[in-house]
């Protein structure tokens, strides 16, 4: 009975008793959510254009961050180092298209998924070999100081991350809607064969998409790397993006953002208020439960394309 009380009524009383703290939890959740969205975005881009569930997205973020730190260690200034890293990521996109996607064209999704796992293995080994496996400090000059506003403790870093995510999404939206390549990308996402038949070069599109995903991975790598240092564990952030993906839908950019925020808030509120009676560390599965609840009502995610099934 006590237990039931502690998980049904007590958390709500707790929320009501300190609304400022609750607001802080919400903000904490939102800022965590933004970080999840950054990772989820990369998945969405690739899935949209090539139907590949790219398991290597987390490793891409690790690889990008490692490359960036490695180049910065040579004494290269930050903007140039970022540009050079982008060049590496674009080269990688070419290699992936040529060596992996092209031979596997028209295969089932699960086979492509498996191939990206192979890619993840390969990049993990390559990143470690090239740049070593110690934790590297990543400092690209993002201000990181706590400050107080209305009784709540906030951080400049989090505001910066949110702003970056906002700019990134806006840029992607403009890119998709108002450029020639963007339109071609959407055409490919709609129907590969129809796109091919009107003369859209599939191969080029894939390279562009993987390069864009590389860019998103670089941003995610910088943001996460600034928090924890650049190290192998960065590749595990992919797991944080998965509930966001099913919640937002595999094919929707706004879904990735909104899904990230919902998951972030849901998981923090769950952990802070329901964690203690349940024994703590519930946020990992709680995120999936939140996502599952949404899925039961919308099996294709919040913004996913409606699945039309015919015999």
């Amino acid at each position: 009975m006590d237990f039931l009380y502690s998980i049904t009524i007590a958390p709500f009383l707790d929320i009501g008793s300190d609304l400022i703290f609750f607001a802080e939890v919400l903000i904490g959740g939102l800022s965590a959510g933004v970080m999840y969205s950054l990772v989820a975005l990369g998945f969405v881009l690739i899935y949209k254009a090539s139907g590949v569930f790219n398991f290597a997205q987390g490793v891409l973020a690790l690889f990008a961050a490692l490359t960036l730190v490695g180049i910065m260690e040579w004494g290269v200034p930050i903007p140039l180092a970022m540009a050079l890293t982008m060049v590496v990521m674009i080269a990688l996109a070419f290699a992936v298209e040529r060596l992996m996607l092209r031979p596997l064209v028209n295969q089932e999704q699960i086979i492509l998924f498996m191939a990206t796992i192979g890619l993840a293995y390969f990049l993990e080994g390559l990143g470690d070999t090239l740049w070593g496996s110690n934790v590297k400090k990543l400092d690209v000059g993002i201000p990181d100081v706590p400050f107080e506003a209305g009784g709540m403790l906030l951080q400049t870093f989090e505001l910066f991350a949110a702003a970056t995510a906002g700019v990134l999404v806006a840029a992607l939206a403009v890119f998709f809607h108002y450029t020639r390549i963007g339109r071609a990308l959407r055409a490919v996402a709609d129907d590969h064969q129809a796109a091919l038949s009107v003369g859209i070069p599939l191969k080029t599109i894939w390279v562009i998409v993987w390069s864009t995903a590389g860019l998103v991975a670089l941003v995610a790598g910088i943001m996460w790397g600034a928090k924890s240092g650049v190290q192998f564990s960065l590749s595990l952030i992919a797991l944080k993006a998965l509930p966001v993906l099913i919640l937002g839908g595999f094919t929707s950019v706004p879904g990735a953002i909104l899904g990230g925020l919902i998951i972030g808030v849901g998981e923090k509120v769950g952990e802070v208020y329901w964690g203690p009676p349940l024994g703590g560390a519930i946020e990992n599965w709680f995120a999936y439960v939140v996502a599952l609840v949404f899925l039961v009502f919308r099996p294709q995610g919040l913004f996913g394309e409606k699945i039309i099934e015919r015999v």
Partner: protein, 357 residues
């Protein structure tokens, strides 16, 4: 030339429906089994048993279980590690709560508990499909691991949270616990794999297996021809989890001997899924070949790089990751349908060899 089925006529339904319709196959399988049961225990040493053979057999069983769900019924699952954990922890609880329970029933009950849990987590599959389902099964993975880590009852409240395999015997031989010889544990795992391969083979070519495959190939069409998605999907989840649960109990009792929840983490789920895909979806042989590939390849590569080429252990490991990744992609490019399909192609070529036209 030797591998030719000309002249082998089927004169009864029974012989037409045999598991291995071709005589040479039958001989081959019997030879492999005899070798595995009689010769291997005599020639293998501890290293081969502990590091190669036992894990291979255990993972092969897990892959077989997942293949039922993913390969035959078309439901991608990333919750295998969680279901295996259910098997391991329920085996432990059964063994410590009922010390007199026969080991066979321990394994069966481990499977049953896992099946029940699988059934519950299979429910979303009725509404959710494809990768959405795959990610949703991760909920099972994370929740179950959290549960076994959190609730002390599952590990009898010992301060370390690790469970140790109690000692049990079968037909007078110790097969679990640290005193059991590797050979005894190997034979147990082998026997169980053979039994489950037979059961699965007969399941998938019967009514239930055919309805799984119908659901896999197109669930709406299957529904229209009168296959119930509810019971079909749920039986797939239950039977698959049953096998995975037993594999989990094996991993704990026969292979590792003492486990913490970390042994069943998400990496295990992925590993088993790799085995199924690399080996071949919807193929029993594929599960075995996939397990062999994923267990043996890293060990072979390490031994090659360190033992033969004399590399530093760390360089070897990095290289091993790269080579393994490249090999996975290469295999998929060469034959996306898995090792089992390669084997099939080889057999077909052999039947015509040396006169292919």
């Amino acid at each position: 030339m030797l591998y030719r089925d000309t002249g082998q006529f089927k004169t009864s339904y029974a012989s037409d429906q045999a598991v291995f319709p071709i005589l040479q196959d039958r001989i081959g399988v019997i030879a492999v089994l005899l070798f595995a049961f009689l010769v291997v225990p005599l020639i293998a040493d501890d290293y081969w048993f502990q590091a190669v053979l036992i894990p291979f057999l255990v993972y092969a069983l897990a892959a077989l279980g997942l293949n039922i769900l993913t390969g035959y019924a078309g439901q991608v699952s990333l919750g295998t590690g969680g279901f295996m954990a259910v098997g391991a922890y329920s085996a432990y609880k059964m063994m410590t709560a009922f010390p007199d329970l026969h080991i066979v029933f321990v394994f069966i009950s481990a499977g049953l508990f896992a099946a029940a849990v699988g059934l519950v987590f299979g429910l979303p599959s009725l509404r959710i499909k494809g990768f959405y389902l795959a990610v949703a099964t991760l909920a099972a993975q994370f929740f179950l691991i959290w549960l076994f880590n959190r609730v002390g009852w599952f590990y009898n409240y010992n301060p370390s949270g690790t469970i140790d395999a109690p000692t049990r015997e079968f037909l007078g031989f110790l097969i679990t616990g640290n005193q059991a010889t590797p050979a005894a544990r190997y034979l147990t795992a082998l026997a169980m794999l053979v039994v489950f391969c037979l059961i699965t083979k007969n399941l998938v070519r019967g009514r239930i297996g055919r309805s799984w495959m119908a659901i896999r190939d197109m669930d709406i069409a299957a529904e229209i021809i009168g296959i119930r998605p509810l019971s079909t999907k749920l039986t797939a989840f239950a039977i698959s989890s049953f096998v995975c649960g037993i594999a989990g109990a094996e991993l704990f009792l026969l292979h590792l001997g003492s486990v913490e929840t970390l042994a069943f983490d998400i990496n295990l789920s992925f590993l088993v899924l790799f085995m199924v895909i690399i080996g071949g979806l919807g193929s029993i042989l594929g599960s075995i070949l996939g397990a062999a590939f994923m267990v043996l390849m890293p060990i072979l590569l390490t031994n090659l790089f360190v033992g033969v080429l004399g590399m530093q252990a760390v360089t070897a490991k990095h290289l091993e990751f790269m080579v393994l990744g490249a090999l996975i992609i290469l295999f998929l490019v060469v034959e996306p349908n898995g090792l089992a399909r390669l084997w099939q192609i080889l057999k077909e070529k052999l039947r015509l060899w040396p006169f292919p036209y």
